[in-house]
Symmetry: C2
Subunit: 250 residues, 2 copies
DNA sequence: GAAGGAGGCTTACAACGTAAGCCTTACGCC
DNA sequence: GGCGTAAGGCTTACGTTGTAAGCCTCCTTC
């Protein structure tokens, strides 16, 4: 409620909310999300855990803030794209949207833990909302009704921000156990072996694996290129939306 | 390594792995995923926490097992669908796949926590793999190349099992804090209020909200029908795959 | 110079997963 | 029939997590 507080406040300490959040991002990037605890973050900053609570309300708030940092990074990257000319043809929405989404994806790929945190948030970040606002703007300029825009956002889901929800990520980048148990590399081989064991229960899958990696299905999970698959799925949705938008306009 | 152990083993106790897992599902259904701890599960079963470790290796294993229970439920429901006739036209893959996915979704809607756990798994459940195998089979009968099948599974992502990754679920069904802080109902009103405050920063979004819920944007997050939105997105992808499959066959 | 608050620190607690080890019971075997 | 064995319960204890409570020490402002 103190109103004369906005600009002045000569900081006694170098520790600020911004510095806390920044350190949290660095720590998560380096050691994984699971390593981001109040105590480890404090250690990183050379202070005690409880001191953090003068800058964040609790861990939830810390994660909110950390999401916001990444969201700002996304918005910054998106802002660098050349904005669309007003006299662009209606069909320009599709490549523009594609570019914005892939730009966001590029940022998120630098912070593999971020999508997990993002999903778990219950409140909005202003930067994220602005991101979505610009997506809405692109679709509107493409002639979408607001109703279609709304459906489109749902259809894109997490893909709107540049990540997809794969069921089984072989490299558990989002998993927290960075310094946990050992077995990590033999994972896909083990999975493949398991599949072979139940070959007769899953004939199509076996055959698919045999055919796709046609030098024999010894390493099955390494053959997917995430970026290609993401763009494939994205383009299906964008093309579908395109068709619906055209139909809307008779 | 005792080989004469498979069928006999007169059980001294009524407590088995199956009963443990079943109780875990019940508990998670009732109190949420966050309430599923080794201690609470033990209490539910009338035993002590450490006794659970005679039936599950650790909590990860417990979650694996719990996923497997739900996966079995899914497979059971899918199995009840009338299997596709061999002389069905190629185009039959699409409604069949749609039905299977929506059936899985119906099961998952009864266990709102399950999708979260499912995502976090690093190992496969046989039931899940068989589920995917049958999807693959449907697409193959529809004339898909294995390559297209593979892309299709990636494009569907979590939608293949019947849930989509919405960025901001207003009702935090998957969130763990069932018995935590209080504020839950005023959430969307609060979010709406926040949006109104930054109206000029997100003009398109404000306008969209104003138009869609055109009795004025007072409750913005209640207007989405999850099932409708899911089917909308699913159909876009299925239609897109359909077109690609046809193109493949010249 | 007194007041007060911002921001650090220490201590303490409850809840979590789980390692270690004890005790009982029931079964298989001589 | 007695005995070894192990399955399956229980108790205790430890380290880690988030965080409540309170102390102290500055710096800023009347």
């Amino acid at each position: 409620m103190t109103s004369s507080q906005t600009a002045g406040t000569a900081p006694r300490s170098a520790l600020t909310r911004a510095r806390v959040l920044e350190s949290a991002v660095v720590l998560a990037d380096r050691d994984g999300l699971g390593a981001l605890t109040m105590r480890s973050l404090a250690r990183e900053l050379g202070i005690e855990a409880m001191s953090l609570y003068h800058h964040v309300a609790n861990k939830e708030d810390l994660l909110d803030g950390v999401v916001d940092v990444v969201a700002a990074e996304i918005q910054d990257a998106v802002g660098r794209l050349d904005t669309q000319a007003d006299d662009a043809p209606k069909s320009a929405w599709k490549p523009a949207m594609r570019r914005q989404i892939l730009t966001s994806r590029a940022v998120l790929l630098r912070h593999p833990w971020a999508s997990t945190v993002l999903e778990s948030r219950t409140s909005f970040s202003l930067h994220i909302v602005r991101y979505f606002d610009s997506l809405i703007g692109l679709m509107r300029r493409g002639g979408f009704s607001y109703d279609l825009v709304h459906h489109a956002l749902h259809a894109l889901g997490s893909r709107a921000l540049g990540f997809s929800q794969e069921l089984f990520e072989p490299d558990g980048a989002a998993a927290g156990s960075a310094a946990g148990g050992g077995a990590e590399e033999g994972a896909d081989d083990a999975a493949t072996a398991m599949l072979m064991q139940m070959a007769e229960q899953v004939p199509h899958m076996i055959e698919m694996l045999a055919e796709i990696s046609h030098e024999g299905p010894e390493s099955t999970l390494g053959w997917c290129d995430d970026q290609t698959e993401f763009e494939f799925g994205l383009d299906i949705i964008l093309d579908g939306l395109d068709r619906l938008a055209e139909r809307e306009q008779h």
